[in-house]
Structure formats: C-alpha cells, structure tokens
C-alpha cells in the first residue's frame, strides 16, 4: 500500500458494547478493517457475529445512551468517533450512506420516492427544487429503473421488491458518497432479482469509483461482488483476505467449516452435510479465549486462555488463530 493510497475507511480495534438492563452485550471486541478507494469488501458472518453492528457503528447509528464505543474509525481522513452531531449529519449522505435489507422499513411510506431523494439532495447540496428533481431522475436512470419519470411519483409500497431496492440505492447515491454501506441488501430478494442488484452494485463501483462494504451471510452473493472478504465470528474478524484467498485457501477453522457446510451440486445423494456442532456464543458472556474454541474441532488449551492475535499468512491474508 503506497503512502498515496490511504484507505478510505480505516477501522482500528473497534469495540462496541450495548447496555441492556443489567447485562452488557459485547457486540464487537476489537475489529480492524481497511477499505481502499473503489474497493468492495464483504463482511460475512452469521447472526450475532457483529457484521451489521460494524456497519452501523461506521455511521454512528446506534443509540448513544446505551452504546459504548472504543477504538478508532477514520473515514475519508476524518475521525468518526470524535464527531459532534452536526459533523455526523454532514457526513451521512455526502461521504457515507447506507442501503438496508428491507426497503419497506427503511423508506418513508408517506412520501414519494422522488420527494425523498429531492429532500436529501437539497439538504446536503442546497440545490433548487428543479435541480434536485433532475438529479433524482438521473439517479433513477443510473440504477436502471424503467419508466423513471413515472416511478419518481410512486410510493414505496407501490413498487416491487427489486425496484424498491434500486430506489434505495438511488437514494443512497444521491449525494455522491464515497462509501456505500450495504446491510444484506439482497437477502430478501428473489434469485433473479438478486443477481441484477449485485451486478448493478458492481457497475456502480466501477463507474463511480465507489467503495462498498457489503454485509451478508451468503457466500455466493459476496463472491459476485467482493474484492476482499472479512469473516466475522463472535464480534471479531477471524479471517480477512482477497476473495480468491478465502474461497481457495481458507485458513481459519470457522471459515473452512462455513465453506464445507454448504450444500452444492457436487455432493452425493444422501451424503450428510458437514456441520459445526454447538451454537453461536452469547455476546453477553463471551469466553476468555477464542470465541470459536467451544465449537472448534482443533481447539487446544491455549485457544481458551487468550484471544488469538492476528497472524498474516500471505500478503493481504490474515487469520486470527493460534494454529497457523
């Protein structure tokens, strides 16, 4: 990484804890991640791994009173953790924006899509109403919504799932952000629509030089879009590397188990799937050592004593495991 190519997003040792009554839920326990300009990074993990929390932490979307964050998050040279409310509002939209899993919940049901985009554009760029409308139209064309003029007048519930997701992407792009955060944007979509949205995101990444952080539990979706992949478990990144690294040579036992546990066409009829015994850890009571040790078939005594450090196994490929 040359000095000129500073990462656009730099997260160092991020810790996020939620106060839930008497319990403290340690959602993230030291996450470090870099995203370069124009790079697409996929965060893969299951429920409770911390992937959505990481995304929301980047935009400081968690309720401040119940959330404790430590560590460092630098986005486009600015320290996000140190921002006040006004700086945050100025960042959300023009620098970073987010696409959610369920557009029906994320879009305002009482305003037309056109109005919502115009509002966002005018709030951040001060353009006139006519200019904002033109911008909305060009955005809808860019995300390939058919009959864009008519669709701008539509309400979210009047659109189909795929169209809504495109509209949400258009909304997210309205202030030309540098980073697009996507929280499982295709999980709720049909297969034929999912591939369209994934291709659209890839196209936008190329044309606009957009950086994308894509959260998913589906390795297939990640494979279509990501340049680099980070696998999360129990609030930590357990393996990070290029897509090829992770798909061809996964080193962390959890990554290996995830890949081998998938049903795929080459399997024999009746052959049982390889499963990971046990269940994900309780984030309110994390074990002292490696969070995956209780379920790991290679676990040793030292795995349970201390959290494994990050070990590079190849250029750009890191694993959090004592056995490599």
């Amino acid at each position: 990484m040359t000095p000129a190519a500073q990462p656009l997003v730099s997260i160092r040792n991020l810790e996020v804890a939620f106060q839930a009554g008497a319990k403290t839920v340690q959602a993230l326990s030291g996450v470090s991640l870099d995203v370069a300009r124009g790079e697409a990074v996929a965060l893969i993990g299951e429920s409770g791994s911390g992937k959505s929390v990481t995304l929301r932490a980047l935009m400081r979307l968690h309720p401040p009173r119940r959330t404790r964050m430590r560590g460092e998050m630098i986005v486009d040279g600015r320290d996000v953790l140190g921002m006040n409310a006004r700086e945050l509002a100025a960042m959300r939209g023009p620098v970073v924006s987010m696409v959610f899993q369920e557009p029906l919940l994320a879009l305002d049901p009482v305003y037309t899509l056109g109005r919502q985009i115009e509002e966002m554009v005018r709030r951040h760029t001060g353009k006139s109403a006519a200019e904002a409308r033109a911008r909305a139209l060009s955005l809808f064309e860019r995300v390939r919504i058919p009959s864009p003029e008519r669709r701008l007048q539509a309400y979210p519930h009047e659109m189909s799932g795929g169209m809504r997701q495109r509209a949400m992407i258009a909304l997210a792009l309205s202030c030309s952000p540098k980073v697009l955060l996507a929280d499982e944007p295709t999980t709720a979509l049909d297969a034929t629509v999912q591939i369209q949205i994934l291709l659209l995101l890839r196209e936008l990444q190329r044309e606009l030089g957009l950086s994308i952080v894509f959260v998913t539990h589906d390795i297939g979706a990640a494979a279509e879009i990501a340049d680099r992949v980070a696998v999360m478990y129990g609030g930590r990144i357990v393996e990070q590397g290029t897509l090829a690294d992770l798909l061809r040579a996964p080193r962390h036992p959890y990554t290996q188990a995830l890949l081998h546990g998938r049903a795929h066409g080459a399997m024999q009829k009746g052959q049982r799937l390889q499963t990971i015994p046990g269940s994900p850890p309780d984030l309110a009571a994390l074990p002292p050592g490696c969070a995956f040790a209780p379920r790991c078939s290679y676990a040793e005594a030292r795995c349970r004593e201390a959290v494994p450090g990050i070990v590079p196994v190849a250029p750009g490929h890191e694993v959090r495991c004592v056995r490599v």
């Binding site: 795929g162 297969a191 369209q196 297939g220 494979a223 798909l247 049903a263 399997m267 799937l273 269940s279």
Partner: protein, 350 residues
C-alpha cells in the same frame, strides 16, 4: 435409533403399494378476489395465485418446489394442507380422494403435516414445548400422559434434550431449536407426507446444515415423503429427488433433480439456474439472465406466461398457452418442446 421409543399413534397402512403416488394433485386453482375499488376505475379481478397445477408426489421421495415471488408455491402448500380451500381441482392421497367419505379431512390431516418458515410464530407463545408437540395427538384421542411421553421422546429424536427443553417456552429457544420443535410437532401424528415450506430459509447457514441433516435422518428412519419448498436452489438440489419449478401460478418444469439442474429445458428454469451466484473467484456473472421483476399474478400475460421475459419467445408464444409435455419423466411447459405447437412455424415476437 439410539433409545427412541415410538409412542406415537400408529401409522396409516400403505394402500396402493409403491407404484401409486402418495399425493396426486390435479387441476388445482385458487384465485383471491380483489376488493372492488368503488372510487376508481379499477376494481374486480383476482390474484391468480394458483392457476392449474398438476403434480404427483411419489412415495418415499423428496419433491423440491422452487420458484420466485408470485409463483404460487406457498399457496400450493396451503392448498395441499387444506388450510385454504381450492376453487377447483382435486387431491388424491394414496388413491383416495381427500374429503370423500373414505378419507375425511380430519383423517387426512393425520397423514399430512407441515413445517412453516417462521419458527417463532408457528409455536403458541403461551404453551410449553411439550404441550405444543402433544396437542396434535391429544386432538386425535391420545391420553395426556401418553402424548407427553411421546412428545418428550420426539424431542430427543430431533436432537433436543427433553429435560432441558420440554418445559420451556418458545421465546427461550433459538431459531434452530424452535424449528426442531416444529419438526417434532409435525412428526407427532406419525404422518406419511411432510410439507416443508421454506423450513430452513430463515436459519443461519450452520444451523441450516444441522437441520437438513436431521430431516434426512428422519426421512430414512420413519419412511417419510417430503415436499420441500425453497428458494435456495443449492439446498433443493441437495435434498430433492425430483424438482418442480413454478412460475406465475403454474408448473413450468418437473423432473429428476439432476436432469433439471444440469439440462434445464424451460427458459425460465435456465435463467433461474444462471442467476445463482458463481462461487468461483475468477468467474463472475456479467449479465443478469432475466431483467425486471417477477410479474404480478393479477394479470398474467396471454399465451405462455413467460413470453414477456423469454429470450426465445416467438409470436406463437403470445397466442398459444403451452401444456406440460412429458419426455422420459421430465415434463416441461413450453411451446419449443411441444411437437404440435405453432412455435416452429411462428415468426418473431413483435
């Protein structure tokens, strides 16, 4: 089966032998009428959720059902379970018409059970796990003590420790555990056919693998027949013997799973299979196989319902509705494969 005591009501006898399909569905139609909107010009019409569906489920097989939003697969499942009544069409279970004197609905319901997608809302939040499982048998006459014992035994069979779970409530269990309970509940009546409606879709991948293994074990041990509805094509390929592809309320392709997946005949099936993301790092999908969204079943296109999105459509496809044509166990609803259709002679679609 390691200590499993089968205390369930006895299974039903096999009536027709292995050659007779366990379930035969003919001409199933279900339309949901739309309320007339008096204030606007629109109104009337109906959502044609299931519009003429025929298929068989063979004894001991797993029939996979795939399709996207609006294809009617969930409605078909509910029609088979008779949770909703069909407008037209008949169900024949092991040679006997469902609802006839020979097979009353109540009896049919002992032999066919369903596992739903949402593991939480499928369980009564105010009932303990064992009571939920024991409910079905008690409805059919089992005594409370027997039913509870059988329920606890079933819990063990699906991989849940009865001591830990029998007295608990649904909200205390994880999604995977709840789905195991739902499976135990479905098995409590000793059914022959189990319909799994997106039963593993809402689970994490690692939990999904565990539950799929369980389903395979149970199928072998109890000689069950499955109808497995899912949108996940990999899982369907893994678990099914035959697969049925649905589009806009109709069956468009039905055949042995490997044949359908390796050599799909219907253009929609081809597009659906090509939409699966490639997991080869160097190989990326460049163009989406299908554009647009799955259409609305309110006003399906004329002729072949897929012709508006089909790359190989011709003028005949807009006029003529294709029928299912069989070819060595692999049926497809497409004019291209229909020898006497007007497809070959037709000009291009305008």
């Amino acid at each position: 089966m390691n200590g499993f005591i089968d205390a369930r009501p006895p299974a039903h006898p096999d009536l027709g032998g292995p050659a007779q399909p366990l379930l035969s569905v003919r001409g199933l139609v279900k339309h949901f009428p739309l309320k007339r909107d008096f204030l606007s010009r629109r109104g009337g019409g109906a959502v044609r959720a299931v519009d003429g569906v025929d298929f068989d489920v063979k004894k001991g097989e797993t029939l996979g059902v795939v399709g996207e939003s609006g294809c009617g697969k969930s409605t078909t499942a509910r029609l088979v379970m008779q949770l909703i009544g069909q407008d037209r069409g008949e169900l024949v279970f092991d040679g006997v018409a469902v609802g006839s004197r020979a097979l009353a609905l109540r009896e049919f319901r002992r032999q066919t059970q369903m596992v739903f997608q949402d593991s939480y809302s499928s369980l009564n939040p105010r009932m303990t796990i064992e009571d939920s499982i024991a409910f079905g048998p008690r409805v059919h006459g089992s005594r409370a003590g027997e039913a509870i014992t059988a329920a606890r035994s079933l819990l063990g069979r699906v991989g849940l420790d009865a001591q830990r779970f029998a007295g608990r409530y649904p909200h205390e269990l994880s999604g995977g555990q709840r789905q195991r309970v739902n499976i135990a509940r479905a098995l409590a009546l000793n059914p022959r056919l189990v319909i799994l409606d997106e039963a593993v879709s809402a689970l994490d991948k690692s939990v999904e693998a565990q539950v799929l293994n369980l389903l395979l074990d149970l199928k072998d041990d109890f000689g069950l027949t499955y109808m497995f509805i899912s949108h996940d094509l990999n899982v369907v390929r893994y678990i099914s013997d035959r697969v049925m592809v649905m589009y806009l309320g109709q069956v468009v392709e039905l055949g042995p799973v490997d044949q359908v997946f390796d050599a799909p005949r219907h253009p929609y099936t081809q597009a659906l299979l090509r939409s699966m993301p490639s997991t080869e790092p160097g190989v990326r999908t460049e163009t989406a196989p299908l554009s647009g969204d799955p259409p609305n079943p309110i006003d399906p296109p004329s002729g072949c319902r897929f012709h508006t999105r089909c790359a190989q459509a011709r003028a005949a496809c807009a006029r003529e509705a294709p029928v299912m044509t069989q070819n060595d166990g692999h049926a497809v609803r497409c004019l291209m494969h229909q020898p006497d259709s007007g497809y070959a002679a037709s000009g291009a679609l305008s």
